[in-house]
């Protein structure tokens, strides 16, 4: 049975998707850059491998779709909390069809599917930060108020607060959860400002872990039965200073994961998987 807010970070399944060749040329990006598609695929394979082998998650791998260059970033296509999945309406027109495969996969997992059908609503999962107690939704280029409202409606148990995203693509482009009640945040001014807003809006207290690099603040926290606290974070190659910060975390299983290529198309660590907890849900 599903108690509210039970077991934050507890996941059993992960949905991932392959990288289409079109990603190199057509995927959306905020700055011009050349993507080494082979390198990206290697990275992604390694990432999936960590989820599957090292973390023992049940990985559902959706095939890449060449017509959807950004489809690897499955996080944006749906928001899952408890046994409810909200299939989003991504802010980028070119990504709207990503939901089809996603919906199917979610249904297969027996989740209650909520579709975002409102034509005026847009929401990217990358703008949704779930802290275990509440949601923060970044209002960004990709996510609007209406999208946030629909999310609030889908997850009625939780408070949903909006946070303006002034820099970066998504809210989670500079922050993520690093543990129960621990927000990992970049040190840029917009990031800090967003954090302040989140703190102000919340009835709960959060600790924060500030890392020098905004992008490094995107990491994946899990709390797995036999592994305890697990954190997938950037590698020292990419962000040496930030990595040092993560290394100070105690009682964590730290897993550096390379993300050099995908980051060129604004893909962060959390973007590449959709984590689901089926255990405990009937």
């Amino acid at each position: 049975m599903a108690g509210l807010m039970a077991g934050f970070g507890h996941y059993t399944h992960a949905i991932v998707r392959g990288i289409p060749a079109s990603l190199a040329g057509e995927a959306l990006r905020s700055s011009q850059s050349e993507v080494d598609i082979a390198g990206a695929r290697r990275e992604h394979d390694a990432y999936v491998e960590v989820l599957r082998t090292r973390l023992q998650l049940e990985v559902v791998e959706l095939p890449a779709d060449e017509s959807l260059p950004d489809c690897v970033f499955v996080e944006d296509a749906a928001v899952v909390c408890g046994d409810t999945a909200l299939v989003t309406r991504p802010g980028a027109e070119s990504r709207r069809r990503e939901k089809e495969a996603m919906s199917g996969a979610l249904k297969d997992l027996n989740l209650n599917i909520v579709e975002m059908t409102d034509e005026n609503a847009t929401l990217d999962g990358g703008d949704v930060l779930f802290t275990g107690r509440e949601f923060f939704v970044g209002l960004s280029k990709r996510t609007n108020q209406r999208g946030a409202e629909i999310l609030a409606d889908a997850f009625k148990d939780y408070a949903v607060s909006t946070v303006p995203v002034q820099q970066g693509l998504h809210l989670k482009s500079f922050c993520s959860m690093g543990g129960p009640g621990l927000i990992v945040i970049g040190s840029s001014e917009p990031a800090q400002k967003a954090l302040k807003i989140m703190q102000q809006m919340s009835d709960h207290r959060y600790d924060k872990l500030t890392v020098p690099d905004d992008l490094a603040a995107n990491c994946i926290y899990m709390n797995l039965p036999d592994k305890g606290h697990v954190l997938l974070h950037c590698t020292a190659e990419e962000f040496p200073e930030s990595t040092k910060v993560f290394e100070k975390l105690k009682d964590y299983t730290l897993i550096p994961v390379s993300n050099m290529e995908k980051v060129k198309v604004d893909g962060a660590l959390t973007c590449c998987s959709l984590l689901i907890n089926k255990k405990g849900n009937n």
Partner: protein
């Protein structure tokens, strides 16, 4: 306390009556009679009143009410409702009798009062003040009069006598008062004595049943509420309340302190019993029955959609409901299934959900009803809308939003999204004006000034309703004790409404003292669903208990309450109240004031009702009129066993260690010289005017005014005696009284504001030995206006002013007046209150040493200088007090003082500048350990050097062990030039045994183009149990680092003080 109250009310009645005269010519004759009778025959008086009440009742609302209060104290409780009617008359007469001490004194008091009244009357004749205002004045006068006699007696009688009184009163008052002893300082007036008319009230209970009872037509809300609680066998009643529907079909909370009839304004005596304050952690409730009732409310909230939740949560909550009501899932027993259709779990309940509910129900096998309820609550409390009271509004741009009031503060929603949140600590002031609702926000770390956020409500009614809910929620969840009920002495604009019940902290303590066996109660299932015998094993159990409960209920309860009252007292005293409420008027012109007068007359009633015997704030106006304002300060002190100042990070100048310094006013104010009459008030005024805006400050000012008045004197005309009564209540039921009498030659002076008065205050403090006193000072008077009101929700810690003194001067006059109005809520601008300063000997403890400054920030440099000068003055005041025993005030007081630290800012050029930081009167309590008599006078100033005077003389010295440890990082430099900084935050967190106060002081310095910001945090932890210093220090540093990641900690000073001393005296 109670005794005093009782007597006061009577006196007041008289006073009021006389006061009323001018207003109502019709009554003149009667009144005169009354006056005559007033001296001796209470009975006669009452009879007269009765007559009046019947005939002219509407004109005499105020005193009618008072009468009620008197008579009711005893009758209500003991006499069953039906009997009451017949008994009422007798009771009325007898009413006073029960309170032996109190009533006996009354006569004397009355005489005293009379004389006072005479004076007042004279004064009144001079004044142009409206009739409406008069009653208020008189009240004050009465108070003073009353108090002095009482005090003397008390002192003579000694603690014992007092204790006895209290006990007696407690008993006498019995159940009715139970809930509120501490809260309502005056006896409850539940029923109106004279009227025998009974009205039938219908109360829908949470289980869907109706409760019908008869109450007297003039009964107060409280009476009915207690009846209902009694019926429900509910002891933890503070979370609940009664609602009624107003003429616009809006649900409103029935104010317990007011007559029901006046609230419902219709003949529809229909109410419903509801949860008013949703406990954030229901597991902390003591009794299962309370949790059960909360569950019932939540089931309804959930089913109606008021408390939104997801499908899964609906199912989960529903399953717990089934378990609680029907017990284990029985596969072969289809009953629940059949019935489930009748049970509504969700607004959009469907088959799927029901299936899910059953599925989950199966998993709860073996869970008792109480456990199921507990689980239900554990899940419900996590819902984001749990306990959030939504109000429709529009933002400044006209966009529809919802304002949600909850335990933590005010939430702003747009559709379902939370778009903003204002935690209580962030809110400096809550006010409404017409259909606008405003909150003043504490400046953020980077901002210099506070901002005000306004919302438009649908109409004035809804604005007021929202405001009230905010005031109540803030008080309940954030204060340790309710604001001292303000006395209704003036009529002013602005609602005087305050939360009058117990706070959560108090109720927790009270409920921890519940020692009855868990009451049996009947669950809804047995009522709603008739089950065949085989079907309901669970129910039979509950029902068994029921009978007993029914039979014994009344008696049972009564016993309880009786026995409890003493306990309660005890419990109440344990807390420290730390926040201030101030009422302010919005800028009102005289015209506006006049406009309001019409409505004021209405409000009058409510004023009169105001139970609290808290000391009024004096202002010149009042003095003029009454000539004898009395101020009473009640100090309940507690024992704080340990006070520790843990750390000041960065520069620590320490101002005080204490509890809520704010709470008590230990202010030493230098003399204020204001050219304007405003002088004293200036404190308050000045602050508010300047927008210093720390409510605390204002509050503080208020307090200060209470204790002594110092006014620069130019023309002193009348001498006023101020009496400060410091009451000590020991937790243990045996209260000792500390009486402080201040006689201040006050200058009543003329109407002109420009006058300067000098009030010399002599304070005599008589302290009875018990050292723990809780000090309550109630300074401000409140009046209720329909139009607007303000509330300052903060916990006063220290005050910072951003303003420059000079500005103040100029503005002061105007502002002062306004302010005063606000603070005192008087209509008349003329009022210049005497800002008294209280110099309290604070704990002289070592802490004083540090320059504290937290408080002073406000003061500008200049002020600092002056302060130094003034400080000298201060000592004097202190001295006066000290000799008498203020000193004994203990840490609690001192603690309070600490923050407050009174820093008055002296006025620079003779102008008044005052900043005071004291919070208003507050009740502080702590458990007192060894009594420490400490006085701390901390003058904290940035310019510490200048102010050095601490008045420790005569103050008993506290034996404390003090340790100061300083950790310094490489220091930046000694910028300690005392640049006035900005007080960023002041936060106090209290638990039962520990009190933590954090004061943040930010100083920005511009040096050669580089701006440097230093943040100083002072954290004071006070408690009566051991504190893990290292941990606390580590925590403090950690937090500081977290909050300001980009800054470094340069210095940490730990100042630890442990009391070694024992009581003295």
């Amino acid at each position: 306390m109670t005794t005093e109250v009782g007597s006061e009310t009577e006196v007041k009645e008289k006073a009021e009556e006389s006061a009323a005269q001018p207003d109502q010519s019709e009554k003149a004759t009667e009144e005169t009679q009354e006056v005559a009778s007033a001296e001796g025959d209470e009975k006669e008086k009452e009879k007269e009143k009765e007559k009046e009440g019947k005939g002219i009742s509407r004109y005499l609302p105020t005193w009618l009410k008072k009468q009620k209060s008197q008579s009711q104290t005893s009758p209500t409780k003991e006499v069953p409702p039906t009997e009451e009617a017949s008994n009422t008359v007798e009771q009325e007469e007898e009413g006073p009798a029960p309170e032996v001490n109190g009533h006996a004194e009354e006569v004397e008091e009355k005489e005293a009062v009379k004389s006072e009244q005479v004076k007042e009357q004279e004064i009144e004749s001079h004044s142009n003040a409206s009739a409406d205002t008069e009653p208020a004045k008189e009240e004050k006068a009465d108070e003073s009069a009353e108090k002095s006699p009482e005090e003397t007696k008390e002192t003579t009688e000694g603690e014992v006598a007092e204790e006895e009184k209290k006990e007696q009163e407690g008993e006498v008052q019995g159940e009715g008062e139970e809930g509120q002893t501490s809260i309502f300082q005056s006896p409850l007036r539940l029923v109106r004595k004279t009227k025998m008319k009974l009205v039938v009230c219908h109360v829908s209970l949470l289980d869907g049943t109706d409760f019908t009872c008869e109450v007297e037509k003039r009964a107060k809300g409280q009476y009915l509420f207690f009846k209902v609680c009694e019926h429900l066998n509910l002891l933890e009643k503070d979370y609940f309340g009664l609602t009624y529907k107003d003429s616009h079909e809006q649900k409103c909370w029935l104010d317990p302190t007011k007559e029901i009839k006046r609230q419902i304004r219709s003949n529809n005596w229909q109410f419903s019993f509801n949860v008013k304050f949703y406990p954030p952690d229901p597991s902390l409730l003591t009794e299962d029955i309370t949790r059960y009732l909360l569950c019932l409310q939540l089931r309804e909230d959930v089913a109606s959609g008021r408390l939104p939740c997801s499908f899964v949560t609906h199912a989960l909550l529903g399953s717990y409901t089934l378990q609680a009501e029907f017990g284990d899932y029985e596969p072969d027993q289809p009953r629940p299934l059949d019935n489930i259709g009748q049970l509504i779990f969700a607004p959009n309940q469907n088959k799927e959900m029901e299936e899910k509910i059953f599925e989950l129900h199966k998993s709860h096998r073996g869970m008792t009803p109480a456990q199921a309820d507990a689980q239900f609550l554990e899940n419900a409390k996590k819902l984001s809308m749990y306990g959030v009271d939504l109000h429709h509004a529009k933002d400044s741009e006209g966009v529809d939003i919802m304002l949600g009031v909850c335990a933590n503060g005010l939430l702003v929603y747009k559709d379902r999204l939370r778009i903003n949140r204002f935690a209580w600590p962030k809110i400096l002031k809550i006010s409404y004006k017409r259909n606008n609702f405003y909150i003043k926000i504490r400046p953020g770390e980077t901002e210099q000034f506070e901002s005000t956020v306004g919302f438009k409500l649908q109409n004035h009614r809804s604005a007021k309703k929202l405001w009230k809910v905010c005031v109540e929620n803030h008080s309940f969840f954030r204060l340790n004790a309710p604001e001292p009920p303000t006395k209704a002495r003036f009529l002013t604009l602005g609602s005087k409404f305050r939360y009058s019940g117990r706070t959560q902290a108090q109720t927790r303590v009270a409920s921890s003292l519940i020692d009855r066996p868990a009451p049996n109660f009947e669950r809804t299932s047995s009522k709603r669903i008739s089950r065949s015998l085989d079907g309901a094993p669970m129910i039979s159990i509950t029902e068994a208990g029921r009978d007993t409960a029914e039979n014994g209920r009344e008696l049972h309860l009564e016993l309880h309450s009786d026995s409890k009252s003493p306990l309660r007292v005890h419990g109440d005293n344990i807390y420290v109240r730390h926040s201030n409420l101030m009422l302010e008027d919005h800028d009102k012109t005289q015209d506006e004031v006049l406009k309001h007068q019409a409505s004021i007359s209405q409000l009058k009633r409510s004023f009169m009702e105001a139970p609290p015997p808290s000391p009024p704030q004096l202002n010149q106006w009042e003095k003029r009129l009454t000539s004898s304002p009395a101020t009473a300060i009640r100090i309940q002190q507690q024992q704080v066993s340990l006070e520790e100042e843990i750390a000041s990070v960065l520069l620590s100048r320490h101002s005080c260690t204490g509890f809520y310094s704010a709470a008590d006013a230990l202010c030493s104010t230098p003399e204020l010289t204001l050219d304007a009459a405003l002088t004293t008030r200036s404190t308050t005024t000045a602050l508010s005017a300047t927008e210093v805006n720390m409510p605390d400050v204002e509050a503080a000012a208020a307090d200060s005014s209470i204790s002594d008045t110092k006014e620069p004197a130019k023309t002193a005309e009348v001498e006023i005696e101020e009496t400060v009564v410091v009451e000590e209540v020991s937790k243990a039921t045996k209260p000792g009284f500390v009486t402080v009498t201040t006689s201040s030659p006050a200058v009543p002076t003329t109407d002109q504001e420009t006058r300067e008065q000098e009030v010399k205050v002599e304070e005599k403090v008589v302290v009875t030995q018990e050292a723990k006193a809780v000090k309550q000072e109630s300074v401000s008077s409140e009046s209720e206006s329909e139009e607007e009101a303000e509330y300052h929700p903060n916990v006063p810690v220290s005050i910072s002013h951003t303003q420059i003194l000079e500005e103040k001067e100029e503005e002061e006059e105007e502002q002062v007046d306004k302010q005063e109005d606000k603070t005192t809520e008087q209509d008349t601008p003329e009022v210049s209150s005497t800002p008294a300063e209280i110099t309290q000997p604070a704990e002289e403890t070592s802490r004083a040493v540090e320059e504290s400054e937290a408080v002073n920030k406000n003061a500008e440099e200049k002020e600092g200088e002056k302060e130094a000068e003034e400080s000298t003055d201060d000592p004097i005041t202190t001295t006066n007090e000290a000799p008498n025993g203020f000193s004994p005030t203990e840490e609690a007081v001192s603690g309070l003082a600490t923050h407050a630290e009174v820093e008055d800012e002296p006025k620079m050029n003779g102008q008044a500048s005052l900043v005071e930081a004291e919070p208003r009167p507050q009740v502080i309590c702590c458990s007192e350990p060894p009594v420490v008599k400490t006085e701390m006078v901390t003058i904290s100033d940035t310019f510490a050097a200048q102010k050095t005077e601490i008045a420790t003389k005569e103050v008993p010295i506290v034996h404390t062990e003090t340790k100061t440890i300083t950790y310094e990082a490489a220091q930046l430099d000694g910028n300690g030039d005392g640049e006035p900084g900005v007080l960023m935050t002041a936060q106090t967190i209290t638990s039962e045994s520990l009190c933590t106060t954090t004061t943040t002081h930010i100083t920005k310095t511009l040096k050669g183009g580089l701006s440097e910001t230093r943040i100083e945090k002072r954290i004071v932890i006070t408690g009566d149990c051991d504190i893990d210093h290292d941990q606390a220090l580590a925590q403090a540093i950690k937090e500081a680092k977290e909050q300001h990641p980009d800054m470094s900690v340069t210095r940490v000073v730990v100042h630890k003080e442990t009391e070694l001393a024992e009581e003295e005296d």
